[in-house]
Structures are given as structure tokens and as C-alpha cells.
Amino acid sequence: MIDGIFQFIDENTYLLLGIIKAVVIASALLGVVPLLVWLERRLMGRFQVRLGPNRVGPYGLGQPISDSIKLLFKESIIQNSADKFLFHLAPVVVVFTAIVSFAVIPMTGPFELFGEKMGLWASNINSGILFVFAISGMGIYGMVLAGLSSNNKYSLMGGLRSSAQMISYELTLGLAALCVIVHTGSLNLVDMVERQNSWPNALNLLNPPLMIAFVLFFIAGIAETNRAPFDLPEAEQELVAGFHTEYTGMKFAMFFMGEYINMVTMSALITLMFLGGWNTYILPDWAIIGFVAFAFKVSFLLCVFIWLRSTFPRIRYDRLMTFGWKFLLPIAIVNLFLEAAIRVI
């Protein structure tokens, strides 16, 4: 009996490791969300010369946990005229797409474990970056559904606005990423990082057209994740709370969970594509050091996200759309051909 189990493990190490890795990564991702909420509230507090949460647990670390327990026990109100099924589906779609799109993000380089060559990723798909774009692009339906099902004009307007914003900036996001793909010649995120591992090619960021691509990608990334200064769906002054006006309790929190996970995914993508991923260039390249370097870079970018939120006022909606279509998109196209021209000559 026990021998049989061991034999099964021996034969299917790859399969079992894949399952374990996926479970670990998904749970870690869920654990990061409350931490990120805490970090954001603490940092925002500092930026605004106040303390931020500091009562629950050391440094207020218990605050997000107590908040989520509270939210779980709040009444979930579904107003009478809402479409019940779609109303429930919307937050599910948001969280689901956010978690799945993280599946192909690699966090360390390949290393050996139990005789299997593996790395800290759930899946290493050949066209990994396309997978992220494809799945995170589906997150738009969460907003559309929330807007449609609530039967409230604020929700509908918010859903329409935020989905139009997301599709406008998705183009810039893709075109900026294409610069890196032309540069590295691969859609695989692991390959992209491996191409940056030695000094002449280190840090894609240092390459002039890619520098512009980095700025474009970062701006479009903020707009994609609906973060300030592009948090138009949450323009309280005009739309109450945008597409999630009618949501209460945990379902309300799920929209923010999706937002925070998307933020982590976006920071991870930027790290992999422009900042050299897990490469440290000076330290020995062990998997552990690589992971710490990767985590450090991602958390730095997350702090920049929070920093931007507390620095910039919200942009007006017509400005937002013209900025995306008339400024970012042409620059992204020209920049792509600049990079291509440099490569071809």
C-alpha cells in the first residue's frame, strides 16, 4: 500500500510538483492581499502626515485581517431590481481572472528539486505574456456585469466608463510589451529574464526605446488596474462608487482583492520585462537569492503605485480617453518601430 503510494509519487513527480506549486502560489497570492492593504494604508498615512492603522496587532498588522473577518459577517444586500445571478457572478469573475492570470508569472529561475528541473511558477507556458494579457483582459467582464446587473445608473455609468478605459489602455499595454518581445525574441517570461542576465544586455530598461516602452507600460498598467490617478470608476464625486455602488460586505471587498492582485501581477510583469526579474548581477544566482531579489523589485514597484496614488489628483474622464488614444497609442506605435528599426540595422 505505502510502496504503491511511493511508486505513484515517483512516477508522477512532475504532476504532483505542479499541483503543489499551484496551490502554494495561489494561497500566497491570497495572503499577499491583506499585507498589501496594510502597506497601502500605512504608507498613505505617512504621506498624509498621520499614523495610519496602528491599534490591531503590532504595527497595525492585524487590521486587514480583522477587516476581512468583519466584511465576511456583513449583510450582503441585493437590491430588488438587480439580476441576482449576474450580480453574484461579477465579483467572481474579477477575483477569478486576477488569480488565474498570475499562474504563468515565474518568480525564480529554473533550479533542481527532487531530481526535477523546476522553478517557482505554476505554469511555464511558451506564450506566457500573451496568457497574462488574455486572462487579465477577461477581467473587464466583471465590471461590465457589475454595471449591468445592479440596475442603478451610477453602476451602469461606472461600468461603461471603466470598461472603455480598460480597453483603451490595453492597446498601449500590448504595444509597449511588443517592444520587449522584439528585443528579446520570445513570448516566454522565463526566457525574457534569461536574456537579461549578463551585463551588455542587462536590464532591458537601459535600452533607449525600451525606456520609453517602460514608461508607457507603467502608465497603461496603472490605468489597467484602475489605480489612482486613473481610478475613474471610483470617482466618488460623480458616480458614488462606480460599478460597485450596490455591493456590500465581502462581495464589495472582492473587487478590491482583484484590484490588488492585478497590481501584484502588473508589478511582476514590469519586473520580469524591464527590471531583470530575479537577476541580481552581483550575488551568486541561487534560487533563494533570486526570489528575494524578485520580491524586492516587485514590492518596490508596489510602493511606487501607492506613492503615485497619494501624489496625483484624479484625471478628468475626457482627458483620460484623449490621453490614451491621442498620446500614448501613437507614441507606442512609433516607439515599436523605432525599436524594430534599431534591431534591423
Binding site: D83, L86, L89, I125, N126, S127, L130, F131, F133, A134, I135, G137, M138, I140, Y141, V144, L145, G147, L148, S149, L156, G159, L160, S163, A164, I167, L187
Partner: protein, 169 residues
Amino acid sequence: MELLIFYPLAGFCVLMGLGVIISSSPINSALSLIAMMMGLAGVFVLQQAHFLAILQIIVYAGAIMVLFMFVIMLLNLKSAEEDTWSIRPQNTYVSVLTGFLALGALYKIACVISQAKLDSPAAVPDDFGTVVRVGTTLFTDFVLPFEVASILLLAAMVGAVVLAKNKID
């Protein structure tokens, strides 16, 4: 093993396809269509067409269905209006006619498939369905259709502006 994954996926696709036709509200129809396309992407992955699977999600489920959703949101019909739409008699005639046409097409396809040799699938090269393979074919053998596609996209762009502008002014 592959069949074990294929049948649930295919069943899911068919079920969702039925959902598109049967459900009365346009939103549910569109949602079923999206779910069906996701299932179809899964089937493509099983057939080793990795790039096609991702394109299926990006272009169909991610872009074209967003357009559908926008139209639904913009029209924003009350449920009463939806009812009057669905019981118009000429709609019934049209749907019966198209139904028979579709049935004929399906029968034809079934005939062709049943004659094809299914038990000895053609050997696929290792890089089948990858981006490299698709790209090589597209940019060497099919250069002209590729360039013509851009003209098609241009025409669509002009058409969209003309349509939308008429309504604004």
C-alpha cells in the same frame, strides 16, 4: 487521457452554445458565448494549437465580445422592450429560415467529417501550433492576404466613424 479531458470540454461548449440560443436575455446569451469560446480555447490547447487558443481568448472573448457587451449596455433595453422584440412575427420566419440553413450546413459538415479518416491522424510536427510556426506561415506564404487584411481593417475603421458620426451630428 486526452479524450477524458476532451469530452467534458466539448460537452461544456455544446451546453454553452445551447445557452446562447435558449436564454432570453441578451446578456446571458453573450455570457454563454464567452464561456463557449473559453471552452473552445481549451479544445484548441488539447489539439496542440497553443497560439490559436490564446488568440481565441484575446480576439474573440476579449475584444469582439466586449463590443457585444458595449452594444447591450448602450442600447440598455428594458425587459418590456425585449419582449416586444422577440414576438415580432417576421423575426420568427427569419429564424426558422436561418435555422434550416444552419441545419443543412451542419449536415454537410457531418458528411465530410464522417468520410475523413479519423483513426489515423496525420503526424504533426513538433512545433505545430506554436507562435513561430503560425508566424512563419503567415509572413512568408500568406504575405498578400496579410497586407489585404490591413485594408479590411481600414475599411472597418472608416465605416465605424461614418456610422457613429451620423448619430452624433
